[in-house]
Symmetry: C2
């Protein structure tokens, strides 16, 4: 922090704990919503509530960014959006390839939330020759044979795998061989990668499991003849507030 | 915990912190992988590493379940699978409807990870009359006109919204009006729901933002002429270990 390399956000980022990094996108999402409503400033309490984090944790997180807000005024929304975006590396362009253009790959290609965050879909790749040349989300699908050429030609460092489980490891190996160093894996399988490559695995059922837990609890409360209002209220509070309730649909894999 | 209502998992669950609930699916996922490989027991360290959580946190979490393992032997894999599944409510059948059968809805309908966790897709619903009757993942799509009848007829309490943003709030209102009390929202919009209804919102770009952070850090390290090996190593470690690095792709909304 005291190295004076203010032109190097990567250097400054080293001191930020992983848990804080994982919360930065939540803050950014809430701040973007405020920005769209032209709200100029926000208190730590309001922002914490919008992001589903407790406010003490938020203030600690922002202290890593060197952002402390102004007493009685709060945080400047636009400046925080810029600051967090820069910290996350979203102020630069990240070309991404999606491999496996079935329903999920097509849904990801059409997903509006990527482009607005600096993730540009550089290419869509599929193993089915019948798909080659067909446009999905306005981008012509290319064949897996050209994977290495596509990665190198577009300077891609982030790959998204949306293939069936059986194809995922081979695709992963080829992506890594061609220079990809971050992989987002939607295939229901665990991938092996060499050191220096980050993989994050998405399990779409995890969020449903959390909901099931609360459903079960609600059903149990309704069935109670004696009501138990106090503990029921406590249970609701923990559901609504969720200071630590950031749901890990993705885990380091 | 001391109420003696051991036949009521919902009652016992009230004492479990929200953050522990959010980690139970991660443990379950890792345990299921061990179970599939017929591994009979696992140490807290091994299981913690597989789940991407630190082992002290895991032992604390399991203490809420009343599960302490056996010194020198570890935890019984099959029993823990059963215990966590029961705690999450996955030993019962959860009929789920998916509303909005575009690419994303179809991908979710085909997603194998739901059925294996007790989430049975009771119905697929879409507003496009041309879709009605067409099978997706072997289930004929039904029209939105019949939404209330479908929810009530199937005893559905969990709804998944995969519609465009503009349609999501109206669909949400109708689901809630028909008796749905948990909603998983994939639409890129914030939903308003009455008290007593849980909503979890999925943002598929959040995990990419975490990867971008690490990519930026890696790029910064490569570009450093003086190397900085110590801090670079520390940065790698935090990426690989990620004790708190459970990525919130979903947040309470």
């Amino acid at each position: 922090m005291a190295t004076g390399r203010t032109h190097r956000p990567a250097t400054r980022s080293r001191g930020i704990p992983e848990a804080t990094v994982a919360r930065l996108p939540l803050y950014l999402r809430a701040l973007t919503a405020l920005s769209e409503r032209s709200v100029p400033t926000v208190s730590s309490e309001e922002l914490a509530a919008a992001a589903g984090v407790n406010s003490a944790k938020l203030r600690k997180d922002f202290s890593y960014l060197g952002s402390y807000g102004t007493r009685g005024v709060g945080y400047d929304v636009e400046y925080l959006v810029y600051q967090i975006s820069r910290e996350l590396g979203l102020t630069q362009d990240w070309p991404v390839v999606i491999v496996g253009i079935g329903n999920l790959g097509a849904a990801l290609a059409n997903y509006g939330g990527f482009a607005s965050r600096g993730f540009r879909i550089a290419a869509l790749i599929d193993a089915d020759p019948a798909m080659a040349g067909k446009p999905v989300a306005g981008i012509p699908v290319q064949h897996t044979d050209d994977l290495e050429k596509i990665i190198k030609g577009n300077g891609v460092s982030i790959g998204v795998i949306a293939t069936p489980a059986g194809a995922a490891q081979q695709v992963c190996d080829r992506l890594v061989g061609a220079g990809v160093t971050s992989i987002l894996n939607f295939a229901p399988t665990v991938l092996s990668v060499p050191d220096g490559v980050d993989v994050r695995k998405v399990d779409l059922s995890i969020e449903l499991q959390i909901l099931a837990f609360h459903e079960q609890r609600k059903a149990g409360e309704e069935a109670l003849p004696d009501g138990l209002p106090a503990s029921a209220a406590a249970a609701r509070e923990s559901t609504d507030k969720g200071p630590d309730g950031d749901v890990p649909a993705v885990m380091p894999a």
